[in-house]
Symmetry: C2
Subunit: 190 residues, 2 copies
DNA sequence: GTCTATACACTGATAGAC
DNA sequence: GTCTATCAGTGTATAGAC
C-alpha cells in the first residue's frame, strides 16, 4: 500500500487545491497544475479524466478539511457565544480568503453541478451547525428568543465570507477584523 | 457632440461591465467583449490600450453607479436603523452578486493597482458612510454606545457581501435574505 | 504509469491597409 | 476610426510509444 500512483494522485490533488484557492477554477490550467506538482501531462490524464474531474476531487477534500477545522472551535467548551466567538476569532490567513467561499464567484463552478455540490454542502452544514448552537443559546436564556436561529447563523457565516471580500479589496486584514468585532458586539448579551 | 466614437467607447465599457460581472477579469477576453459589443478588433484597440485599460474604465463606472445607488437608501428619511434596513432590504439581483465585491476574488485585479483602486475606494466609502449613520444612531440613543461604529459598519457591509456568496453557493437567493434578516435582528433596538 | 507528439481553438496583442 | 492579417503563446485535451 501507499503505492507511487497514490502519491502522484495526492500531489495532483493538493496542488489543485492550492491553485484553486489562489486563482479560482477559470484561472487554473491543467498545465499550471502539472508544472507545480512536478507531474507530466500523460500522468495527470492517466489519473484524472480532465480539469473538472481533478477540481472535483480537490474541492471535496478542501470541503472536508474546512468542516473538520470549524468543528474544532464549534464543538469546544464554553457557552454558545463563546463557541461562536472562538470560531470567528480563530487564526486565519485572511488575505488568502476562503478556499470554499471563493468558488462561489466562479461561473464555471456554479454552472457544473459536480463542482458546486461540495461548496453548497459545506455552507449548508456550517450554517446548520451554527444554528444549532444559537438555538442552544436561546434555550439557555443566553440569547433573545425572537430571531430564527438560522437567520443569525447565516449572518455569522456571511460576516466571515464578506470580511474576506473587504480584506482583499483593502489589501489588508483589518476590515475583516472590524467586521468580526462588529458582529460579536451585536451578538453579545442577546 | 455625442459622436459615433463616443457611442462605440460607451458600448465597449458597458459590455465590459457586464462581462466582468458575469465572468470576472480572468474569465473575460477581449474577443468576448468585441463580439458582445458588436465592435471590431481594431476598433477596440483604437479606443483602449488593452484589456486592463478597458477593465479600469468599466470598474470606475460600476463603482460610481454602486455609490449613487447606495446613497439613495442611505440618505433617505428615517432613523439610523431604518436607513440601514432600507439599504439592506433594497431589491437586488442576488444571484448575480455584487459587481464590485466580485472583483476582490480576482487575483489579477488585486495584483494590479489600477484595477484594485476602484474596488478599495468603493468599500472605503461605503463602510465610512454607514459608520456615520451608526454614529448618528448612537448619538441619538438609538444604538448602544459601546461598539466602534466602524466595526458595526464593516459587519453590515460584510453581511451583504457574504450573503451573495451564500446565495450563489446555494444557487438560491434565500441564504442572502436569511443573513440580512439575521443582521437586522441583531441590530434592532441596540 | 509516464513520456512525447500532435491538434485545434482561443488569448492578447501589433501592423498596416483603407 | 475601422478592417483584416498575422503572431507567439496558452488551454485542454487525445494518441500512441515505452
Amino acid at each position: 500500500m501507499y503505492s507511487e500512483a497514490m502519491a502522484t494522485q495526492d500531489r495532483l490533488i493538493e496542488t489543485t487545491q492550492e491553485l484553486l484557492w489562489e486563482r479560482g477554477y477559470v484561472g487554473t490550467s491543467p498545465k499550471a497544475i502539472q508544472q507545480r506538482a512536478g507531474v507530466g501531462q500523460g500522468s495527470m490524464y492517466h489519473h484524472f479524466t480532465g480539469k473538472s474531474d481533478l477540481a472535483a476531487a480537490a474541492l471535496s477534500r478542501s470541503a472536508q478539511q474546512l468542516r473538520a477545522q470549524a468543528e474544532q472551535q464549534l464543538a469546544g467548551p464554553g457557552t454558545a457565544y463563546e463557541r461562536i466567538a472562538a470560531y470567528l476569532l480563530r487564526d486565519r490567513e485572511v488575505l488568502r480568503g476562503c478556499r470554499i467561499g471563493r468558488m462561489a464567484q466562479d461561473p464555471d463552478v456554479i454552472a457544473e453541478a459536480e463542482l458546486r455540490r461540495p461548496v453548497e454542502e459545506t455552507f449548508d452544514w456550517l450554517c446548520g451547525r451554527i444554528a444549532e448552537i444559537v438555538a442552544e443559546g436561546q434555550a439557555d436564556g443566553e440569547f433573545a428568543t425572537g430571531p430564527d436561529p438560522a437567520d443569525i447563523a447565516a449572518a455569522v457565516v456571511a460576516v466571515l465570507q464578506g470580511g474576506y471580500v473587504l480584506a482583499r479589496a483593502a489589501d489588508s486584514p483589518e476590515p475583516f477584523h472590524q467586521a468580526v468585532r462588529g458582529a460579536l458586539a451585536l451578538l453579545r448579551n442577546r
